[in-house]
């Protein structure tokens, strides 16, 4: 799916230079579910930003779907994000002025998709996360778990090859967290590649593979083996929560 080789990224201020990623190399195959763990400040988020093309990096190479994305300009990177990548954020990042339907619609709009197809995709994405009945609700009218599921629907609606999740359950209680994890596993089961950043070893264990980042480097890098990803859905997807 993607391959990072010797990626280095530093943040500079006037006084000091902080290396967020140091010669960071990671290869993720199609259909994998990888958990990236590590203490805070280790560079997990920077890795995710680089992987999601939210940020550029200083040196090294990054190939996504066999395309070298390090040389792309801003517009092309936007296109790649729009077509290939889905994001799930810790704080959901729904747009408060827009209702559930319109929120899921946002990335599709930028893909200039015709209205009929957009509606179809939004409906099926919301179906998948079990929120078809809340289409007209505003984010502020939903519980945290429901908001995160809207965010997942938004990430899925574009049919991305790569799903990047940043502490997706960080703002949720354990029951809702489990529901969200179930959903992610279900999506992975449907063929999506998922890279999840988390500091929770419990959650990390549910991934196929764990990668630990410390000081901007991978400490226990296990190269990907082509057919090791056997998909098991450990928990059936939960029905819509009764609260919210």
């Amino acid at each position: 799916m993607f391959e990072m080789t010797q990626v280095t990224k530093a943040y500079r201020t006037d006084l000091l230079e902080t290396h967020a990623l140091r010669e960071f190399s990671l290869k993720v195959g199609k259909g994998e579910f990888v958990a990236v763990t590590g203490p805070s400040g280790s560079g997990k988020t920077t890795f995710l930003n680089v992987a999601g093309l939210l940020e550029t990096f200083d040196s090294g190479s990054y190939r996504l779907d066999d395309v070298d994305v390090s040389k792309l300009d801003d517009d092309a990177r936007s296109r790649v994000r729009n077509h290939k990548i889905g994001f799930i954020f810790q704080s959901f990042n729904l747009i408060p002025d827009l209702n559930v339907f319109d929120n899921v619609d946002v990335p599709l709009r930028y893909r200039r998709m015709p209205a009929g197809e957009r509606r179809e995709r939004i409906n099926s994405a919301l179906d998948l996360v079990g929120l078809s009945s809340r289409m007209k609700h505003l984010p502020s009218q939903l519980s945290g778990g429901q908001q995160q599921r809207v965010a997942i629907a938004r990430a899925l609606a574009g049919d991305p090859a790569l799903l990047l999740a940043d502490e997706p359950t960080g703002n949720l209680d354990s029951l809702m967290a489990r529901q969200v994890m179930d959903l992610l596993e279900q999506i992975n089961g449907m063929g999506a590649t998922i890279v999840m950043v988390t500091h929770d070893p419990e959650l990390a264990r549910r991934a196929h593979r764990n990668v630990q980042v410390i000081d901007g480097q991978i400490t226990d890098y296990k190269p990907y083996e082509a057919h090791s990803a056997s998909v098991t859905v450990l928990h059936p997807p939960a029905a819509d929560a009764t609260y919210g």
């Binding site: 704080s91 502020s140 945290g144 703002n171």
Partner: protein
Amino acid sequence: MFAYDLRLALDSMKRHPGLSALMVLAIALGIAVCTVTFTIYHAMATNPIPDKSSQLYAVTLDTWSAERPYDDDKPDLPPQLLTYRDATYLYGAKAAPRSVVMYKSGALLLPERNGVKPFNAQLRVTSHEFFPMFDVPFQYGQGWDAAADAGPQPVVVLNHETNAKVFGGENSVGRTLKLGKIEYRVVGVLQPWAPSPKFFDLNNGSFEDPEDAYIPYGWGKALEMPVYGNTNCWKPESGDTYQDFLNSECIWLQFWAELPTIADRDRYQAFIDNYARSQKAAGRMPRKLNNVLYDVGQWLDRNDVVQKDNRVLIGIALLFLGVCLVNVVGLLLAKFLNAAPLTGLRRALGASRRDIIRQHMTEVLLIGLTGGVLGILLAVGGLAGIRAIYGSDFTRGSYERLTEIDPVVVLVTLALSLLAGAIAGLYPSWRIGRTAPAVYLKTQ
């Protein structure tokens, strides 16, 4: 509590200095434009003689042509001036406790003092009642009497500036002065006196300075003194002599009556109407009976002393302030709503809805007041600018007088700025006060 509100307001203004400055600027500009406009308007609309304005009446008779009204734009109004023969009759009849007949003229003034160039002195040729009727203040000496008008006697009253120019400001009563061909004896010197508007004679500009000197009415006829105001005639007048001019239907004299009570006024109205009827019987005054007594306020209205332009500007200035207020409301609302989570926190910590509204209104009024003070400073600058561009040079002092900032206007302006602030802040404060604490405490 107020001190606390004030501190919160200052903190909040400091948190977004650009936004706060923008709001202060918007209010300041709105207030400045209004202040400049109001100042000029106020100066124009001021009652120049408040104590007697309802006892002094400009006397008008409709002596105009049968075919067309005096003023096509105001066909129902009689002309403002009188003919010589009507003025002479009204003055002679003594039907009012006091009346005055007068006009503006001029003559060459030849000062004896070295270094003072001869100049064309503006003169008021007037009967002696002028000074007591219009409460004219004397510095030295006094006016003259009926005998001086009838004589006419060569006496003159100088205004303050002329006395300063010609006699160096000393008590010149008893000294002589040559005006045109006649040598006059100074009997009085006025204190600085310039009623604004110059209500008693609006012919040469409503905000002109009064004349340089005053001479008895009788000299007008004796010397055939020229008319410096308007002379209007509606029918061709034949004849080549000054007497022909005096007998004509041309109008050029101002006539005022002092009528202390309503009864006096009604009696005088009946008197002039009777006179007009007798003239109609004699074949004069072909228009329908239309003789009007105007008190000072009505007189200023009738003569459009407050120019249309200035009324238009008042409207535009208020609309401008409106734009500034809408501007401020928008900015306040955005700012307050942005700080809503903090407000929610305060509510959660026990602030009542009224506390929140008061807190925000304090900030708004602070902005309003700062804007108001800045606005007055801008207005003072603006008025100075107008004075500089349109100095007294052009128009005998009128812009000087019109652009003096008035304490009343300042007070009105400050009140206006607070009111403006209050209006601008009411909705945003209410809106933010209304929000339930929980909404903003939940996530984000």
